[in-house]
């Protein structure tokens, strides 16, 4: 019985549509759970800046406020380990998702970012068995996710005939990606495809269009404007690609896992969620479900969490 327990969400950034969708999913599912008497409270906190130091302080404040569990999307996999350890020492359950932490006492609902990189290249290999030139758009320099995805991509490219001819940092922002791509484009030979990290596909497409070059196959990241663009291209000329990203609703999975742990269930420390993937045939369906300006999403229910826990055992 967890009806007396409280769970807090510690979030480090709210400045993009993915995070907003994540907070919204949490709000919806957690509010319902509180209404249903499953837990006594489920508050969400966001730091004012995307900084590990701020999030560490936030977690310390949560310890003081006496939450029973903290669900966490971390600014850094390692830099808040100190605070997480303190929470564990205080008897608090810590479940991290998306941005996971390496501290052993915490649970991790991981997305295999390396796998995400590999999958992009695998898809492309299937499309272009003869290989070709790839452009890589990375995220923000010095951040964990950026390194993981990039490592996955490079690893997989080794075993294919693809060539990475250029690599730029798009800082996960449409406009920065667009700028960086436009800058490197003139020096690139023909580009077959672009591997991305999510949220920068539309910018890349714009840059190619502006330079008057044929649009390569751009791997998308589930943002509504990317899907919309893809749909337009598909309708116009049968453009084909794939789109994959972690669903923002994974926060609700974090919520249920924390609830299960509080309930005394045996839960392995490492859980893995699949990506949310949009394919040529599911495009219309998912596009219709995605709100304007937001990101493709699924929310998880208690049963999904239980299934996940079961399968991990």
């Amino acid at each position: 019985d967890t009806s007396g327990k409280t769970i807090a969400l510690s979030n480090n950034y709210a400045g993009n549509s993915w995070r907003q969708a994540m907070l919204e999913s949490w709000g919806k599912v957690a509010y319902q759970a509180v209404q249903d008497g499953v837990v006594a409270g489920a508050d969400a906190f966001t730091t004012s800046e995307n900084q590990a130091t701020e999030q560490a302080a936030q977690i310390q404040n949560m310890i003081l406020q006496g939450y029973d569990a903290i669900v966490l999307n971390a600014a850094s996999p390692t830099a808040i380990n100190g605070a997480v350890k303190e929470a564990c020492d205080a008897g608090i359950i810590v479940v991290s998702f998306d941005g996971i932490v390496t501290e052993p006492c915490a649970w991790r609902i991981a997305v295999d970012f390396k796998q995400m990189g590999r999958d992009q290249v695998k898809y492309l290999e299937q499309r272009y068995p003869d290989g070709g030139n790839l452009l890589e758009i990375r995220g923000l320099a010095g951040v964990f996710v950026d390194d993981e995805i990039s490592a996955g991509i490079h690893e997989q490219v080794e075993s294919t005939k693809f060539d990475i001819v250029g690599s730029v940092h798009g800082d996960w922002a449409q406009d920065v990606a667009q700028k960086a791509v436009a800058g490197i484009l003139p020096s690139l030979p023909e580009v077959k495809a672009i591997v991305t990290q999510g949220g920068d596909g539309y910018g890349a497409a714009q840059a190619f269009e502006a330079a008057g070059r044929p649009t390569p196959t751009i791997i998308m990241g589930n943002r509504r404007d990317e899907l919309q663009w893809w749909k337009e291209q598909k309708d116009a000329n049968g453009y084909e690609t794939t789109s994959l990203s972690i669903a923002p609703g994974v926060s609700t999975l974090g919520f249920w896992v924390a609830q299960q742990i509080l309930d005394g269930k045996e839960v392995p420390k490492d859980l893995t969620v699949p990506f949310l993937r949009v394919d040529q045939d599911t495009l219309e369906e998912i596009l219709a479900e995605t709100p304007v300006g937001s990101v493709a999403n699924v929310e998880y229910a208690l049963e999904d969490a239980q299934k996940l826990i079961q399968s991990a055992k």
Partner: protein, 308 residues
Amino acid sequence: MNRDHLRILLPVLSLGILLAAVFYMQPRAMSYFGLNLLFNLAVPVALATIAQMMILMVNDIDLSIGTFVSFCACVTATFVQTDPLIGYGILFAAILVYAGMGAIIYARGLPAIVVTLGMSFFWSGMAVLVLPSPGGSAPDWLRTLMTAKTPFLPVAIIAPIVIAVVMHYFIKRSSLGVLLRGVGGNEQAIERSGWSVMGLKAFAYGVAALFCVLSGMALVGLATSADANIALRYTLLSIAGVILGGGEFTGGRVSPIGAVIGALTLTLAASFLSFLHLSPDWQIGAQGAILIIVLAVRLVFTRREALI
């Protein structure tokens, strides 16, 4: 009661009021454990604030503190951990670069704000080179030091007190401190007495760099690892801390105790805002508002100077 005492009164009062409010909202905070949680992340902020204070003291401003502390943290989590000799060597060289920057700024009459802005790109690049992705780990002694269970008072309280007292003695009591503050107060008077203003400025920058190094190390000790963006916020926090602590942008009017109190106040203000369950939308705005309010209150304490 002289002007210095008056100047320190406002920060002490604001910290007191804030602390009382936090204790009222969260009585749990009133314990060894609670104080440690409230304040341990204020230690690196306080060190960075002291660094900024050293620069403001000689009438300059440093916009590269955040990236420089990040760089120091990256070096600490990598080289200092694995090859201490090289690690300390890098940090020492960085301190020399800082001192040289101070000397050049004075000798060429450069605007410190632009030079440090340029240097912030430089340090940020260096940090990414040292540590391309988050990680590294804290040297054991550092971790032990930052998490030590000291009797009676937690490290989080002892460290700021030690920093404040040491710097108070250095800046406000030692005879070298007098000269440094004199540079901010009346550069010409210092020069007339035959001192090298350039040397003093370089020294002030060097000490600032030393405190940035300490800040980076303390941060790694608390966080257990580093990343290249770990301390970007310290630039703004440190300026705000000095000003909240009763310091002024010009005239060599700074107070180390005030600066430390300012840093604690800023950290506590963030906790206070989170205990308030203030909407995250407004948290950053609330920080701006606090800055504006305190600076506006200072108007009462300082004379206004007219254009002519």
